[in-house]
């Protein structure tokens, strides 16, 4: 027998009837429950958080690809799932990337449903060596230079031409010699690509609206508020730049460079950390951290 998944309206109505509480009240309760657990006070019961991503699609009978190609349906599915199961909070809401924008940029580091993958295959991250072992110094000297001219061209097929830019750092004594690079059809192509991808992403963001606000309106806080200082630099280096193998070999073969880059990244992250609520200091929110991936057991010694 097929489970009837209620619409958002139906689910919300049922929640209010069953609990005799408004979404606002439920939101406050749920938030307090989680804060109590964090602050080591005993909450009324153990809070439960919904991890997220594709389960909502499955539950609502949508393909996973709707998280990339059908913002309205995806949001609705997510909300209905949350209302039906009634956890205390959600983690990632997914729906960050427009599938069309992804297609335009031709990313090499990820595969997604509805793109290169079957509509019901989960997202895949493709690890590789996007920073070579002898490129640590380039990053240390001029990190933006590295990302723009080495990393982005490798990570996105449509941005390959960025590798032909010269280092701009010393070209502050006269643009004329530089501008001739921008006259090439390849750069026009890059500009057009970015513009097109930007438009697709903008439309997607409009479709997703203010997801956190909408979730709060139906009573659900998130534990993955944006902002803060981000995650451990080692994660970025290991996942996105050197790959797991590369980063682990670096721990033995060039630990000082690995540490120097980590140090540079964390100083940067801390300097640019954003507050939970830019309007009010002292107001706490849940989130801002990164994930612990390589920090898990088994990846490295104590």
């Amino acid at each position: 027998m097929k489970t009837h998944v209620p619409s958002e309206q139906e689910a919300l109505k049922r929640t209010i009837e069953e609990t005799s509480k408004t979404p606002k009240q439920l939101y406050r309760e749920r938030e307090k429950r989680i804060w109590d657990a964090i602050q080591l006070k005993e909450p009324d019961r153990v809070p439960v958080v919904f991890g997220g991503t594709f389960f909502a699609a499955k539950y609502a009978g949508l393909p996973f690809s709707s998280a990339y190609y059908d913002a309205a349906s995806w949001k609705e599915a997510y909300k209905r799932t949350m209302l039906d199961f009634g956890p205390d909070a959600y983690g990632t809401g997914g729906g960050n990337d427009s599938g069309l924008a992804l297609e335009t940029l031709d990313p090499r580091q990820m595969l997604w449903p509805g793109g290169p993958l079957h509509p019901n295959a989960p997202y895949q991250f493709i690890e590789g060596e996007y920073m070579k072992a002898d490129e640590y110094e380039i990053f240390l000297d001029d990190p933006t230079d590295f990302i723009l001219r080495y990393y982005l061209p490798r990570a996105y097929g449509a941005l390959a031409h960025l590798s032909r830019l010269p280092p701009l750092r010393e070209r502050f004594q006269g643009l004329p010699s530089l501008t001739t690079l921008f006259a090439t059809p390849e750069f026009q192509e890059v500009a057009r690509t970015l513009s097109k991808a930007g438009e697709a992403q903008t439309r997607w963001r409009e479709g997703m609206g203010n997801f956190a606000e909408e979730m709060a309106a139906i009573g659900f806080p998130t534990i993955m508020q944006r902002g803060g200082a981000g995650g451990a630099p080692f994660e970025s280096i290991s996942s996105y730049l050197r790959g797991m193998q590369g980063a682990m070999i670096d721990m033995y073969q060039r630990p000082e460079k690995l540490l120097a880059v980590s140090e540079k990244m964390s100083r940067w992250q801390i300097a640019r950390a954003t507050p939970a609520d830019p309007q009010k200091t002292g107001k706490q929110k849940l989130g801002g951290g990164g994930g612990i991936l390589r920090g898990a057991d088994g990846f490295m010694s104590r």
Partner: protein, 443 residues
């Protein structure tokens, strides 16, 4: 019937060039190739401190002078580059110096500057009247608290801070979020939508159009050196390179006032920035500059001149970086030609630290007697017929000045006659007097 109504065909560029070469040969009884070799050897002898057959002469900074010589406005350098190119040729052919100097330090496409809404320069035909020389606009393009950013993430500084300040059309680049954290999927969540903003698109289009205009300008000046060589004239310099790192900071980044305050308030950051610039320059030279024996590389000594800073400050902030740049050029068999603008009487001894006979010091207001006394036998000196004299003096006065120079500075060789600086408003008769003086008088 006889074809009276036939218009004679316009000669192709090559035909015109051939005709000019033939005229030169007729006039001088030498081929342009021979004349080129003579002139180049004369200059090289002077540089390597052998005594040439006579003092070589460089017209010196001919960009606007050549335009006016040919009846054009200063704006031609920016807006009518084909005509400007011809004027450089004409002035050189008519005056017959040993070296010609294009002298368009900030020359480029006026249209490109307009499209980008350039803030660092005022130029004729753009935001200046058509017959006024350009002006460089110094400002604090790097704020006093931005040294750390410049040193630790220079590309970010250039793209999101500097370019928006220097080009009005690129202001939207300051809207870009930082690029360094764009690993993983961060491109999507933080950057991508920004590119859909109309202002950023317009900035990209402006960059493209400006680049096309600049490319056109370059094309019109392509092979100029080869053309002049085929007419018998070597260039005063084959390439230009950056000078002292301090000047890069002082001119382009902090401004004079900013950099001088920094010498007191944050000297370590100033030194660190200079060292970074030096490092980048040295790295670039390895790939950028041809290893061609004897090619002349022009640069300038600007804030190093007398009066800008004390000897101690010169030795801390200025000279070490400048010296390393000059040494690295010399090591690559290039000949630095250092234009010492202003007066450098108190800086002469430092040049003795460089290898003998491997560089040229061109002087402006420096006392040439003193320069010869200190540097004679160590390096070639050049200069210093005042631009003011070339503008408002008489040919007679110019000739007298040059005669004195030849006697004092030209003694034993190691001297190249030239103007003290750019000769935007010089009278052709005076410039001719300067050129002719070396042919008339011997040291």
């Amino acid at each position: 019937m006889k074809g009276d109504n036939m218009v004679p065909p316009i000669p192709s560029r090559q035909e015109a060039l051939n005709r000019t070469r033939q005229n030169i040969e007729k006039k001088t009884a030498k081929s342009p190739g021979q004349l080129y070799a003579e002139r180049e050897n004369r200059v090289r002898d002077a540089i390597s401190l052998k005594e040439p057959d006579r003092v070589p002469v460089n017209i010196g900074g001919g960009g606007y002078f050549a335009a006016r010589y040919a009846g054009l406005n200063a704006a031609a350098m920016y807006y009518d580059v084909a005509a400007w190119r011809e004027s450089l040729k004409k002035a050189t052919l008519d005056l017959e110096p040993d070296l010609y100097e294009v002298g368009g330090g900030l020359a480029g496409s006026g249209l490109s500057l307009e499209i980008l809404d350039a803030q660092q320069i005022l130029w004729p035909g753009g935001n200046l009247p058509a017959n006024t020389s350009h002006q460089f606009v110094e400002r604090e393009y790097l704020r006093e608290d931005e040294y750390d950013l410049f040193i630790s993430d220079p590309f970010d500084f250039i793209v999101r801070y500097y370019l928006p300040r220097v080009f009005g059309a690129l202001k939207p680049l300051s809207d870009l979020p930082p690029i360094m954290p764009l690993t993983g999927a961060a491109v999507f969540s933080t950057v991508l939508h920004v590119f859909a903003r109309p202002e950023l698109k317009q900035a990209g289009q402006a960059l493209f159009r400006a680049a096309q205009a600049q490319e056109k300008w370059h094309q019109a000046m392509s092979n100029f050196r080869e053309e002049m060589a085929s007419l018998g004239f070597p260039p005063s310099s084959h390439l230009s390179c950056g000078g002292a790192p301090f000047d890069a900071v002082s001119d382009y980044l902090r401004g004079m006032r900013g950099s001088m305050l920094d010498m007191y308030r944050q000297p370590e950051k100033l030194v660190a920035a200079c060292e970074k610039i030096l490092e980048w320059r040295l790295l670039r030279e390895i790939s950028a500059y041809p290893k061609a024996t004897g090619w002349r590389a022009s640069c300038a000594l600007l804030r190093g001149a007398d009066g800008f800073m004390s000897r101690k400050q010169y030795e801390s902030f200025y000279w070490p970086g400048m010296k390393r740049i000059l040494l690295s050029l010399i090591e690559r068999d290039l000949v630095p030609v250092v234009f010492c603008e202003g007066s450098c009487d108190s800086r002469l001894e430092y040049f003795l630290e460089l290898p003998k006979g491997k560089f040229v010091c061109r002087f402006d207001q420096t006392d040439m007697v003193k320069a010869k006394a200190v540097l004679g036998g160590h390096c070639c000196i050049s200069g210093n017929v005042p631009s003011s004299l070339l503008q408002v003096g008489s040919p007679q006065e110019v000739e007298e000045y040059c005669h004195d120079l030849i006697r004092v500075a030209g003694k034993g060789g190691g001297f190249i006659m030239t103007s003290s600086g750019f000769i935007d408003d010089a009278s052709p008769a005076n410039v001719k007097a300067m050129v002719d003086s070396v042919k008339k008088y011997r040291p």
